[in-house]
């Protein structure tokens, strides 16, 4: 399995910790991850039943049911493991979507179908998250994958409302209209130019 060493941030100490980015997870990895995340989500949600922050909107997802997507070349699942446990998963599609922003209209991009942080990393589910930076690392991986595939860093996704600030401000994506075909979720796109700026911002 293709993988590389990266860093995440330990939430308590705010120091970098070594993690592994997997570029092409096998279907079994999704099943194994769900077996760990599923009960953790339920337990965390129960203990937060009276919490002020809302329970995450996607928490019904079951990654085990997504394993069949990986039969197609166009689908790929990336993951970040730290401390021997999967901390984040991202399912992308390489062929189903094209860019809509004027400068790049009709050109291929990496579309993020699903992305999730492990339940113990979410402030809405636990009082003390374990690791930070999973979202930005997975997003960075999507941009790099897009570059390596010849798509010049273009990325697209439909964001659930609570995540919009992250994609617009932290990731530098352009927010476009709500999409009636996608339950009125707002569509976000990272153009070739914005991707270049994002990557340059890392140095």
């Amino acid at each position: 399995m293709t993988k590389e060493e990266i860093t995440l941030v330990d939430a308590m100490s705010k120091r970098p910790v070594v993690a592994t980015l997997y570029l092409e997870l096998a279907p079994t990895a999704l099943v194994d991850t769900e077996a760990v995340w599923g009960p953790a989500r339920v337990a965390a949600a129960r203990s937060r039943a009276h919490a002020v922050l809302p329970i995450p909107e996607h928490w019904h997802w079951n990654w085990a049911t997504k394993k069949d997507h990986l039969r197609l070349l166009a689908n790929r699942c990336l993951g970040i493991e730290c401390g021997g446990v999967m901390q984040g998963l991202m399912m992308i599609n390489l062929a189903r979507h094209a860019a809509v922003l004027d400068s790049d209209a009709g050109k291929p991009l990496v579309y993020i179908d699903f992305i999730e942080n492990a339940p113990w990393n979410l402030k809405s589910l636990v009082d003390e998250p374990r690791y930070f930076g999973i979202g930005i690392r997975l997003f960075e991986a999507a941009v790099m994958l897009s570059t390596n595939e010849g798509f010049h860093g273009r990325v697209g996704l439909h964001s659930l409302p609570p995540s919009e600030p992250f994609y617009e401000r932290t990731c530098g994506m352009t927010k476009l209209d709500s999409d009636p075909d996608k339950e009125d979720l707002a569509y976000f796109e990272l153009s070739r130019a914005s991707a270049a700026a994002f990557l340059k911002g890392r140095s």
Partner: protein, 155 residues
Amino acid sequence: MKSLGMTTNSEWLLRKADEEAGCNISVGGLVSKLANRPATSAAKRLAFRRLISLRRRDLGLSIEELSQMSGASLLDLIRAERDEDFEPEPRLVYQLARILKLPDAKMMQLAGLSAANEQGFGDIAVRFAARSEPVERLTPTEHEALEEFVKFLAE
């Protein structure tokens, strides 16, 4: 093997991770399964269960036969007809629509997998659900209700 080229710049990571800071990063169109469902959609799903059950029986098919024809598991088919918590995958709905000769787009709406375009669709589905009670054989009323509803869906 070529690496992806992820940055090793800790300062960038700390800054970005701080902005992200354990917040939600969710994407994807599963909102319809997650938001508080309006009352009519529970009735629509009931209508879906009743519809596939009655139609199957009307066509003289056992669940086993339907399983063989569709490739769906017996458990999925039983749950699709009886379990109010069961959320059928789009693929199952399409297969059922094909074999039971029902319009697939409307079936997707009944199953709660896509939004209904039509005003009153929910009301008609509720009426069908209310009029159809599962029994061993179809009564003339059930048969009539089924025929009417199927005719409506085909419009």
